[in-house]
């Protein structure tokens, strides 16, 4: 890892990121949109048969106790993690530098670590109409029993791949490719107009 501090990261949403209330908010704001800007976004993958060991390592390094099951995850304060494919996990930290903490722990025999901190943009949607707005984009079941707290899902919207984690009963964190993030953000704002939205 580089010793000198990294240059300040710029948001790809910047030209279209307008804090304040928008759309049909006269009767109240029903969703809140924000960019999360986590310092670290990692993708961890285990070779076949090494999945449990990788989950253990993630627990030791981050303190996140990931459930061993399809799409299982945890979202707690500064850190979050979830399974998005067989043997593959996304781990997020508010602080930078989590990749270095994993460096010695994941040996080539167990799996791989890819630092996507600069490659993904994290967008949070929260509020009573979050499920409603999300359902316009993704053909998956957003109801709490089908998509439990902490769980992750891999899906896409118009061929833009998205990973979604439920970080609250009415809150979702969406990870999209940085290069498509502004386009997705604009679409998300348009879709939120009818319910009234606030950008924080």
């Amino acid at each position: 890892m580089a010793e000198q501090p990294l240059p300040e990261r710029q948001s790809p949403l910047e030209p279209d990121y307008h804090p304040g209330s928008h759309g049909n908010f006269e009767h109240g704001v029903d969703v809140i949109l924000s960019e999360m800007r986590p310092g670290t976004i990692l993708q961890l993958a285990a070779w076949p048969g090494e999945e449990k060991q990788l989950i253990e390592i993630i627990g030791k390094v981050t303190g996140l106790a990931l459930p061993d099951g399809a799409g299982g995850g945890v979202s707690s304060g500064a850190r979050a993690g979830f399974g998005f494919a067989p043997g593959k996990f996304t781990v997020v930290d508010e602080a930078e530098g989590l990749a270095a903490a994993f460096a010695g722990a994941i040996t080539p025999a167990i799996g791989t670590l890819t630092d996507l901190s600069h490659g993904r943009t994290a967008i949070r949607i929260a509020g009573p109409k979050a499920e409603w707005v999300m359902a316009k984009f993704f053909a998956i079941d957003f109801a709490l029993p089908a998509f439990p707290l902490g769980a992750g899902r891999s899906t896409n919207h118009h061929d833009i791949f998205a990973q979604i984690q439920r970080s609250g009963p009415d809150q979702f964190d969406i990870y999209v490719f940085r290069s498509f993030a502004r386009s997705f953000w604009k679409a998300l704002c348009h879709a939120s107009e009818e319910v009234g939205y606030e950008v924080q």
Binding site: A70, A85, I140, R153, S154, F161
Partner: protein, 92 residues
């Protein structure tokens, strides 16, 4: 048409990519058996009914799947991870 991914659960067919007939047996790379290569490249059962297929959940977890699909009704009879190489038995 819904395909139930063993990892992600039921998803719309738009998230999946068809990867071809699942009945093919690829000869060993060093094989000189031209009939076996010919069969691998060209011979297809093309059944009107249950059919072994390979699909990829390309718009989701990206896993390759063995799917048995009825070519007349488009009913998905079974899905499983392709990893492991075990053929999914067709019902017919």
């Amino acid at each position: 048409m819904l395909i139930t991914c063993p990892y992600c659960g039921p998803r719309d067919v738009i998230e999946f990519t068809y990867q071809g007939d699942g009945n093919r047996e690829r000869p060993q790379p060093a094989s000189q058996d031209l009939d076996a290569w010919n069969a691998y490249v060209y011979d297809r059962l093309n059944p009107a009914g249950d059919h072994n297929e390979i699909w990829q959940h390309s718009g989701g977890c990206r896993a390759h799947l063995r799917v048995v699909r009825n070519t007349i009704t488009h009913e998905i009879l079974s899905t499983a991870f392709a990893r492991g190489g075990h053929k999914t038995e067709s019902r017919s």
